[in-house]
Symmetry: C2
Subunit: 440 residues, 2 copies
């Protein structure tokens, strides 16, 4: 993509409305724009990141055996009255009356609606286990929305719902999601840590949060340093194998959010206790028959008995992750995108657009990348050299290929790796090799 | 995908709530389910079709030079007050008050919001032309929702918005979208016909509807038979070339919806006048400064003058197309999916799951398809032969590969092409060839 054909409305100054780093950087790099309090439009660069996070999430959900559906944003109030959550949810729920005075709401989560779909379509144990998920916009009418997309009112969530014939089987479904979450966050270039969590308004007795570490995170977290070595534990796992032993091993190490932290439990841990800040990017719940009982979502088991189905729900904060990833990956000059979710792989910067040789070499590299299906943003604008380099650091793609008159003359070009800020010098031929080795 | 691992809740009987063919077939084939009046959940089979339509649409939009963004579903009322459409839109607009009594609405379309994004970010002619699009859920509070997803209240639309420095340039942007629409509908396996149309509540003086022909369509349409030969006109077109001559050629043939039909104009047409039924699946508008003037979205031109930008908007009914495609492609036994948008390419039907040989051959074909990345739905259930074949016709994938004990014994299997309902007999080896030739 040529920058002159693109829509990248950068902001030079720190926007007044932004308090936290990710929000500032997203506004400055033209990723999003607020349309009402806590409601954002995603501009091209932001939309690309959102899509990548969504795709990685879906791919791993599919690999785990979950099946994609799509529920609507607007739900009927009746279902929430059935589950008794209509009043409980309070003012965070956006309540709506349609032209016929029917009570609707903008879904903040989907336990009720999925339970309704289940009871209308599944009656027998033969159709279980079942895990249905969707990626859809939700709305929570926060009293004071802030922190940009990290705490927006309209936000994109992946939510999955599992259905099982027994408590034991439901735990197996829960374990699959535990593993899927460890894998999918890792595939986004993150180092997730699973922590025992409170269940809150979703309910149930078993719950884990998935946290990414960031100095600018929203809350304190505590964990055994040994967990950092456990990142590989789930890499090669077979979803149909016995997952319990892996999860037992992982959860034998201490890890807790501020709310669940108990210093007494940390006295005999194997590694050092780390206290740092974290950002919640996923949350999984096992809640058994909490919704199936009041909503009468029953199944017939092998003995012909009828009983409420056992359920769990599993959320990934897709839009929140965009902010969360930036909180965990930036420096004073801008964003440092992990390769896996970077909107483009590379900034190709032509320092002098009036120089024919520069243009020729730039075009050569640009065409090569396009042929190789490498997503490159080609800065072909007439901005100053300083401004181009500042922009490249701000928008933070993994690599910057810099083409200037000196480089052309000496066949010696600069390639910068954003993560390390290291610059290496390569000939044009070596650049093609570098591209093949690092960007394909 | 194995059917025993899938979620395909079929309905045997004609659902009471459905009046039209596509709605009946979508409910019977487990593609969707109503959650409130005019609001649907998309089940796995329906979601796959929705995704394919969305992808084809986006690919062609990108090819035309448009850039993807994503605006939120909830919009502030202020913007619509600025454009004077807040009252005009009447009861079809879903109006919402948040917890702070701020007036919001669920967007029925996005002219105002995109104009706001534009005026906040673009000031100079140097950034034009610009075409921004998104695919997002919309809401229109229809007084009597019906016809399933063809006229739902919550519906998925692709809407694009072009910005230009002059009336002439705006027409060029309009032409690009005209061509893109002819191409993208064709890529869905459809035969679109562009017809001059009224502009309605969007406004402006130039507008075309894109219609697909179906006996069960919603309204009368009239067109010169010669247009059927014009389908190839736009196939190889270069978006950066002169599109006007192609469009002049195409629009020189008579084509009009019921509202715009004028029998006097049809007296000297070259081919036969066809009167039939059609379904609107796309609509494009040029409306110049209708929104930019009241909302003060101005740009500076080359002479340093400030003037309101010239705009157009361009809609594709993504969720409506799912119903529309079925209306145009079905028989008495079920849906006949065009290859391009079919949820799966093939039904692989094992007629006898207790027969080891049948299982072995079925698995062989199943694994082969998976290796070739061909999306196959493998009916490995214990349903009766009759029920399996009926289901395969109902869900209507392009091909059915049928594996039974007789076939295994004689190495002679049946392959049915759903579109023609023709069955051919092939050996196992020939099946692999057939798959390579028709399904890859």
């Amino acid at each position: 993509m040529k920058l002159t054909d693109y829509f990248l409305p950068l902001k030079k100054d720190k926007p007044k409305e932004a308090e936290i780093t990710s929000h500032i950087l997203m506004l400055r790099s033209g990723m999003c724009q607020q349309s009402s309090s806590g409601i954002y439009s995603w501009l091209p660069l932001g939309k690309k990141v959102l899509d990548k996070i969504e795709k990685i999430t879906k791919d791993e959900m599919n690999a785990s055996g979950a099946i994609e559906i799509l529920m609507p944003t607007i739900q009927p109030a009746e279902l929430w009255i059935e589950s008794s959550r209509y009043q409980d949810y309070g003012k965070e729920m956006l309540r709506i009356k349609d032209r016929n005075k029917k009570e609707l709401l903008y879904g903040p989560t989907n336990e009720e609606l999925i339970t309704d779909i289940f009871r209308n379509n599944v009656q027998s144990y033969k159709n279980l286990p079942l895990n249905l998920y969707h990626v859809q916009w939700k709305f929570r009418d926060e009293v004071r929305p802030r922190f940009g997309v990290m705490r927006g009112r309209e936000f994109l969530m992946k939510d999955a719902y599992s259905f099982d014939i027994s408590e034991d089987n439901a735990k197996k479904s829960y374990n699959k999601m535990f593993v899927a979450y460890m894998k999918l966050f890792k595939k986004m270039g993150l180092s997730p840590i699973a922590m025992k969590a409170e269940t809150g308004p979703i309910g149930g007795d078993l719950s884990h949060e998935f946290i990414i570490i960031s100095k600018t995170g929203e809350s304190d977290v505590f964990f055994d340093e040994s967990l950092l070595d456990m990142q590989k534990l789930f890499d090669e796992i077979d979803y149909n194998g016995d997952l319990q032993e892996y999860i037992n091993k992982y959860t034998s190490f201490y890890a807790a959010t501020d709310e669940m932290h108990n210093p007494k439990e940390t006295q005999n841990i194997s590694g050092n206790l780390i206290k740092t800040k974290g950002i919640e990017v996923g949350h999984i719940f096992h809640f058994g028959q909490k919704y199936s009982k009041p909503m009468n979502a029953t199944i017939t088991n092998e003995k012909g008995q009828n009983l409420p189905v056992f359920m769990g729900s599993y959320g990934v904060g897709v839009s929140r992750l965009v902010g969360g990833i930036i909180e965990a990956n930036h420096d004073e000059n801008g964003i440092i995108w992990p390769k896996e979710v970077s909107p483009f792989m590379c900034s190709l910067i032509n320092l002098n657009c009036d120089n024919e040789k520069c243009l020729e070499v730039s075009n050569q590299i640009y065409n090569y990348c396009n042929k190789k299906m490498i997503d490159v943003l080609f800065d072909d604008t007439k901005e100053s050299i300083g401004s181009k380099l500042t922009t490249a650091d701000l928008i933070g793609f993994p690599y910057q290929v810099i083409i200037g008159p000196k480089g052309v003359k000496n066949d010696n070009f600069e390639i910068k790796t954003r993560k390390t800020n290291k610059i290496i010098n390569l000939s044009l031929n070596e650049i093609f090799n570098f591209i093949n080795e690092n960007m394909v």
